[in-house]
């Protein structure tokens, strides 16, 4: 999978991911949209939401939503650690913080009336 960091202005579709309570505090869960699996993270401690691809580029496992989230470094970069081999990815840019894996795709996310929406770029 190639690296994309989808930005707000590219979004063509806001997909409804669920109610905020569907996503555990300081954790994640995945959603299915058409045949895409997207990991949605509810980072309560820093009061932010993130969405990324669910596939870990390392061994191509659909798993990132089950990873532990946290922050790293002076900048407090939000990150997720894959449950398998603990490769970590920035939740903001998708960059692999161990510096050896491909980056993951990240998606814009917004909350309206306790409903979570993920912004996707769809080919017309």
């Amino acid at each position: 999978m190639t690296f994309e960091h989808n930005t707000l202005d590219q979004v063509t579709t806001w997909v409804k991911a669920g109610h905020v309570s569907d996503f555990p505090e300081d954790g994640g869960s995945s959603i299915l949209y058409k045949d895409q699996q997207i990991a949605v993270f509810n980072f309560t401690t820093i009061n932010k939401w993130f969405a990324t691809q669910n596939l870990c580029p390392h061994k191509k496992q659909m798993i990132l939503a089950r990873g532990i989230i946290g922050t790293q470094g002076e900048e407090q970069t939000p990150k997720v650690a894959c449950p398998y081999h603990k490769k970590t990815f920035s939740l903001e840019t998708g960059e692999n913080l161990n510096g050896c894996e491909d980056s993951i795709t990240t998606f814009p996310i917004k909350i309206e009336d306790d409903t979570v929406f993920v912004g996707l770029v769809e080919e017309k």
Binding site: L32, T45, G70
Partner: protein
């Protein structure tokens, strides 16, 4: 502003740029390299075979050059130097003017003039492109030969064998690595290479490469021949000095730009560094001398310093990557120097070591190590620093049995000037300073501060020794802080949680931590909270590792395994049938584990609660195979059936397993109970082992299997059951309170000052007066036990978490399984 043009962008060229940047040189730098990508780590070129990942080898990406104002031009070859007007031109006719020119053109593989070398299937081993072509060709080939049995040739042979090719090495000399090792060493190395499946042909001069367009074999001057599909030539290197000849720069007889100790060529505006430079008629085919030369040039350009000069370099080498330890240092032969050789040739274990000692027995002159090069760093240091030898120099290579590390001198005997990292030229003093003055406390810090160990990495074991030694000298107790979010050790965290009655991770982070936590501190705190309060782990599921979060062990493909508890390994037929039925219904792979129970693999996340509902109904509980907690207490059949059995080991194992089930600890815990000294339960291979004696039971502690097996040692002998339990309560609680994260009982026990004797005092004699408290703490934990799975399936909120998607009930559609031996298997990743 001086204009510097560097020709070639190889390892040494990059190092020169790096040094110029470090020294804040104001020069404007242009680098022109003919290869398509920025400089990469040629030393580890063979790693490319493993993953074909060129990025991993890159010394620094293009951005780095841009960011530092260096103009890097790739895929461009410099074709001419105009010395009068001080410019170079490239093959595209671009022109670059210089005030100083640095030639860093390296070398190319030497291809001997054998008839037929131009045929398809003949390769050299120097660049990523060479490897790519070789790999593509190798897919269609079934055999390969390597011409040249030197350092590089053997590395190439290992690569060929890893490509699944039938591989031969053809060497002209009568032994392998003729320049580095002697005859005896060569014989041993040959047999080791043969063990790897590589054929070794010695004393063979190749006269012809046969075949039409493609090669099909090699003919040798002795009339013999070899049928082979491809050939990798590794017969030495030739410095790339072609630019100099035309420009009238002095070139050495054996090739290479002639340079003085300031790396100036015969034109003082032109330097040469790396493998293209010939210093005192010597070409250095290694990277470390090149780095040293780069330093000499950088000092002149950045600091106008002509004091720092190149004085030659040591050519000791340790072979990497080939799966056989080989090293040689100093003068391995001492053919013309009076010396005493001391050698051992241990044919049984395949070890050959030789050191050459001067006639007075004071100095090391050189040596060879094959089969075991652990002592290379130390011996090499003794040689370079001309250190005094111990009274019996043979001790340096002969290890007395049981003792680790032969080289009979300690790290503190090394002078501060000793060069530890030869790639980056870092001395022991540099490393010590970074520890003492800059407060560095770990390997990564040393790498960042000094660059030691960032080249070939061969010096890392020694760097680590220096680190530990220096810290110990400074009296620093190395604080094992958990991570960047909590500046505490595990033991301090334990006390913080307990004393302040902290009940959740969030609360702890708010009060004592910073940032948003991470995958290190979260599971650790989860385990501590459970060890202290024995509360349900699912209440704060997202701080748990995935196994604890889903109360099952994750497998390839994202499915989980299910391990119901079968205390002591005893199970009724009815329960066995339930396991069988559940496995059938959910199509789970079943296997008897090494822990006397049954594992059901391949469960999909959404099915876990359904599976456990059935199991809990039938009276099963969680086996905690996923947790850092009590696993199993294995039993042997004991006195009930066995004619040798002294007491009821099964009954006792069940009792103990039920007592400690669900107990969370720094690492997993395992136990065993055997009915007699024959020890069929392997109890002494467990964290705690109980063995029946005529008079009662022996209690052993601190054993494990795994990569580093340890037998448990006797804590108390001939005690009754009640005392066993009392001691065990104390022992386990003491361990839980004081061990490091993920430290099993054996290493914990070993690190306890005073060892087992101290432990006996604390546990059996209650020397600290904490016995009762430990027992009470354990009682509380036992009283709080609930089966996690039972709780999970009965709580709708918890149950809700066991789905792959939160907006869809389906299983992960990407999961793939296959059938083998009548059961379902995951497909490999």
């Amino acid at each position: 502003m001086a204009r510097i043009v560097i020709v070639g962008n190889g390892m040494v060229s990059y190092k020169l740029c790096e040094k110029l940047v470090e020294k804040n040189s104001s020069a404007s730098i242009t680098v022109i390299g003919e290869e398509p990508r920025p400089a990469y780590d040629r030393v580890h070129l063979s790693a490319y075979f493993e993953d074909e990942n060129a990025d991993k080898l890159t010394m620094a990406p293009k951005d780095w050059y841009d960011g530092n104002g260096i103009n890097l031009i790739t895929s461009e070859k410099v074709s001419q130097i105009n010395r009068e007007e001080q410019y170079v031109t490239t093959h595209t006719n671009s022109k670059y003017e210089y005030d100083y020119l640095v030639l860093a053109t390296g070398s190319s593989a030497f291809v001997p003039p054998i008839k037929g070398v131009e045929k398809k299937g003949v390769f050299v081993y120097r660049t990523i492109e060479d490897l790519e072509m070789m790999m593509a060709y190798g897919k269609k080939a079934s055999s390969a030969a390597v011409l040249g049995g030197g350092l590089l040739g053997l590395e190439a042979a290992k690569a060929a064998i890893d490509m699944n090719l039938k591989t031969s090495v053809v060497e002209f000399a009568p032994r392998l690595m003729p320049r580095q090792i002697d005859e005896e060493g060569g014989l041993l190395l040959k047999s080791k290479m043969e063990d790897l499946g590589i054929d070794i042909l010695l004393g063979k001069a190749t006269s012809n490469i046969e075949g039409e367009e493609k090669m099909t074999g090699m003919a040798f001057s002795d009339g013999t021949s070899l049928d082979v599909d491809m050939l990798i030539i590794s017969a030495g290197i030739r410095p790339r000095d072609e630019l100099g000849k035309e420009a009238g720069l002095e070139v050495a007889e054996r090739g290479g730009f002639v340079v003085n100790s300031l790396m100036q060529t015969s034109d003082e505006k032109i330097f040469a560094v790396g493998e293209c430079a010939s210093y005192e008629n010597m070409i250095y085919g290694l990277v470390a001398p090149g780095y040293d030369m780069a330093e000499v040039v950088a000092e002149q350009i950045a600091n106008d310093n002509k004091e720092y000069t190149f004085t030659g370099c040591d050519m000791s080498t340790k072979l990497k990557l080939i799966g056989v330890d080989v090293a040689s240092f100093g003068d391995p032969f001492c053919d013309n120097i009076p010396h005493y050789p001391i050698s051992i040739n241990d044919k049984k274990n395949g070890i050959y070591k030789r050191i050459n000692v001067d006639l007075e027995g004071k100095k090391l002159l050189g040596g060879i190590l094959i089969g075991d090069a652990d002592d290379y760093n130390m011996l090499h240091q003794m040689f370079i620093n001309e250190m005094a030898l111990p009274p019996h120099p043979q001790d340096l290579i002969i290890k007395s049995s049981g003792e680790e590390g032969g080289a009979g001198i300690g790290i503190d005997a090394l002078p501060d000037t000793a060069q530890v990292c030869s790639c980056e030229n870092v001395s022991k003093g540099d490393i010590c300073c970074s520890i003492k003055d800059d407060g560095v406390t770990d390997i990564n810090g040393i790498k960042a501060a000094t660059k030691a160990g960032t080249g070939c990495g061969g010096c890392l074991p020694m760097v680590n020794n220096i680190l530990e030694d220096t810290l110990a000298q400074m009296g620093t107790v190395v604080r094992k802080e958990i991570c960047e979010h909590f500046p505490y050790t595990r033991q301090e965290m334990f006390d913080l949680i307990k004393v302040n009655e902290i009940k959740s991770y969030t609360e702890l982070l708010e009060k004592y931590g910073s940032g948003g936590g991470c995958e290190t501190c979260k599971p650790l705190v989860g385990s501590l909270l459970a060890s202290i309060w024995n509360d349900l782990i699912l209440k704060e599921s997202t701080i748990q590792d995935t196994n604890d979060r889903f109360l099952a062990n994750i497998q390839k493909g994202g499915s989980y395994s299910v391990v119901p508890r079968i205390p002591g390994g005893e199970i009724t037929p009815d329960k066995l049938i339930v396991i069988g039925e559940v496995a059938k219904e959910f199509d789970l792979y079943t296997k008897i584990t090494g822990g006397q129970r049954i594992d059901l693999f391949g469960a999909r996340l959404n099915d876990l609660p359904l599976i456990w509902e059935r199991l809990v109904d039938a009276g099963f509980e969680s086996g905690h195979a996923y947790g850092k907690s009590l696993r199993t207490v294995k039993s042997c059949v004991g006195s009930t059936w066995c004619r040798f059995g002294l007491h009821d080991s099964v009954g006792f194992a069940i009792e103990v397993e039920n007592r400690y089930k669900g107990l969370r600890s720094p690492h997993k815990l395992k136990g065993g109970v055997s009915g007699c000294i024959r020890e069929c339960a392997e109890a002494r291979g467990k964290d705690f082992g109980i063995i029946a004696t005529e008079k009662g039971w022996n209690l052993y502690v601190g054993g494990n299997g795994g990569a580093n097996p340890k037998h448990a040692v006797l804590l108390a002998g001939d005690i009754d059951k009640e005392t066993v339990i009392k001691y065990l309560d104390r022992y386990l609680m003491f361990y839980i309170k004081t061990a490091e994260p993920l430290q099993r009982t054996a290493p914990w026990q070993e690190k306890l000052e005073g060892g087992i004797d101290y432990l006996k005092q604390v546990i059996c004699e209650d020397s600290l007066g904490i016995g009762e408290q430990l027992e009470n703490d354990m009682k509380i934990l036992i009283a709080h036990y609930t089966c996690e799975w039972k709780a999970a399936i009965n709580d709708p909120e918890m149950r809700k978490r066991f789905t792959h998607f939160s907006n869809d009930d389906s299983h992960d559609p990407t999961q793939k399984f296959k059938r083998e031996r009548g059961q379902r298997f995951p497909v490999a990743w």
